[in-house]
């Protein structure tokens, strides 16, 4: 059977709401695909757009950024600043060629275990439909170890 493409998702989640929400999903035994790798940050306001680009550089096929609902932020205004920053960054990345099927944003609070599961599954399906991000992975060609084959270079 042809090896099914398993998308790699980098999920930047805020420590106070979404991380605990994901924890809740786990403790309440909700079934969920395991493609999302969670990266815990103190607040969505801490998420720098260079993290997103670094995630794609390191092989992520999709990125999910999730944090507290507006008003719930442990630091009061972290997600407000983030929201404004994401609006600008989302549009820039779309303009440069990384569209909204690969870059997802969401608010998940600490009590929304189910919502977390549906958000993650939605992201995974959207990225799986889009397929591996080979176009971006090609940017790594000069950094990968060239395999010394006889006729020419074929990277691993």
């Amino acid at each position: 059977m042809e090896e099914k493409f398993e998308p790699k998702i980098a999920a930047f989640v805020c420590n106070w709401c979404t991380y605990t929400g994901a924890d809740l999903a786990g403790t309440s035994r909700l079934k969920q695909e395991a493609n999302a790798r969670l990266i815990r940050v103190p607040c969505t306001g801490r998420i720098d757009p260079v993290f997103v680009i670094k995630a794609f550089e390191n092989g992520a096929d999709g990125v999910l950024i999730s944090g507290c609902h507006p008003g719930d932020c442990h630091y009061n205004a972290g997600n407000f600043h983030a929201r404004r920053r994401w609006t600008m960054f989302k549009n820039l990345l779309e303009f440069v060629g990384i569209d909204s099927t690969r870059l997802h944003f969401s608010w998940v609070s600490a009590s929304e275990g189910k919502k977390w599961v549906s958000v993650v599954d939605g992201v995974i399906d959207s990225v799986r439909a889009k397929g591996p991000f080979t176009q971006f992975k090609k940017l790594n060609k000069e950094h990968e170890i060239p395999v010394q084959t006889g006729e020419g270079v074929s990277t691993k």
Binding site: G59, N140, E142, H143, E144, I145, P146, Q148
Partner: protein, 341 residues
């Protein structure tokens, strides 16, 4: 060797043959102003009236970024892999004298004491076909840096423009002779005695490099330096388009968590972090000192160490500078100081 000439059409045939023999042919295509690889759709054009290209062709010998080795961690130990060698030889066709003469200059620093084999592998197997130059503007000063529009230094074969786009062929180095012999069928005898195309205007002598050097020898603390580089913004455009600037940086880059490479990249003394120590101390902590370093390295230090001027007077840095900081006017000012004292 009897006088040989060649037409532009025949040159295009040579280009095709070279490409079949796995050579990378570098030249300036029709209607463009940048050295690049000649391909089927990018026809070679040999126009000696054209202005110097936006940047030099040093990137084909000293790339803007090239891998030194690749590494892979495996449980405590590390395996090193060599980069893939680009086996194709390089042939530059239609190189201006100010670009061609830069190659032997930077070859000196890459070959004194330790031999930089990354550079030598490309340079030794290459062939540079220079062409006489009929261009002049306010930024050209090749005559003042031991050069001239007909300078054959650095070229293996030198073409002098004749009318109805023929070129007189002069072989300078044994490599050049071997090339002309190998592709002999494309060259012809000069029966019709084409007369060469004359230069409209000669390039004047702007300064005397010896006087400039003697002034630089003992004016390190002169207050001229406080205002000479004041307006410089510290980008590295002048160093990266320059045919003779050769400074580089060694930097590690990860690819994933346990693999990566070490790269040799272009670097420039105009950058603020070029000489910054890990302790924070920076011997050149302002732009004026860095600009003094740029001028002194080109017109004094390189002569002290390698007896060559690290500048061929192509004027590229002045043409492209975002704040029009003109190296020729700075050196002319120094020349004036030198003549006064």
């Amino acid at each position: 060797m009897e006088e040989l000439i060649i037409s532009t059409e025949n040159f295009k045939k040579i280009v095709k043959e070279l490409q079949e023999k796995e050579f990378r042919v570098i030249g300036i295509p029709e209607g463009e102003n940048k050295y690049q690889e000649i391909t089927v759709e990018k026809e070679l054009s040999l126009n000696s009236e054209a202005a110097p290209a936006g940047s030099s062709f040093k990137e084909y010998f000293f790339p803007k970024s090239e891998p030194i080795f690749f590494y892979k961690q495996n449980n405590g130990s590390v395996d090193l892999f060599d980069p893939i060698e680009d086996k194709k030889g390089i042939v530059v066709i239609g190189a201006k004298p100010c670009d061609a003469s830069a190659m032997p200059i930077i070859s000196k620093v890459f070959n004194w004491d330790y031999k930089d084999d990354l550079f030598n592998k490309r340079y030794d197997s290459s062939l540079i076909i220079g062409m006489s130059c009929h261009y002049k503007d306010d930024y050209c000063f090749c005559v003042s840096t031991k050069g001239s529009p007909e300078n054959t230094k650095g070229s293996d074969v030198f073409l002098t423009t004749l009318e109805n786009n023929y070129f007189k062929v002069a072989t300078i180095t044994p490599k050049g002779e071997a090339f002309v012999k190998e592709y002999g069928k494309h060259f012809e005898k000069d029966e019709k005695k084409h007369n060469p195309v004359e230069r409209k205007e000669a390039i004047p002598e702007h300064f005397n490099y010896e006087k400039v050097k003697t002034w630089l020898d003992n004016n390190f603390e002169n207050k001229f330096w406080d205002t000479a580089g004041e307006m410089c913004l510290g980008c590295a455009q002048c160093a990266f388009v320059c045919p003779t600037c050769h400074c580089f940086d060694l930097v590690d880059e990860q690819c994933g968590s346990c693999e990566g490479r070490r790269a040799k990249n272009w670097d420039a003394c105009q950058f603020s972090l070029f000489t910054k120590h890990a302790s924070g101390h920076n011997p050149r902590d302002n732009q004026e000192k860095r600009y003094r370093q740029r001028i002194s390295h080109k017109f004094k230090y390189y002569m002290d160490k390698f007896d060559d001027i690290l500048c061929t007077g192509c004027g590229r840095c002045a043409r492209g500078c975002p704040v029009s900081l003109d190296i020729l006017q700075v050196v002319e000012e120094i020349n004036a100081f030198a003549e006064k004292s």
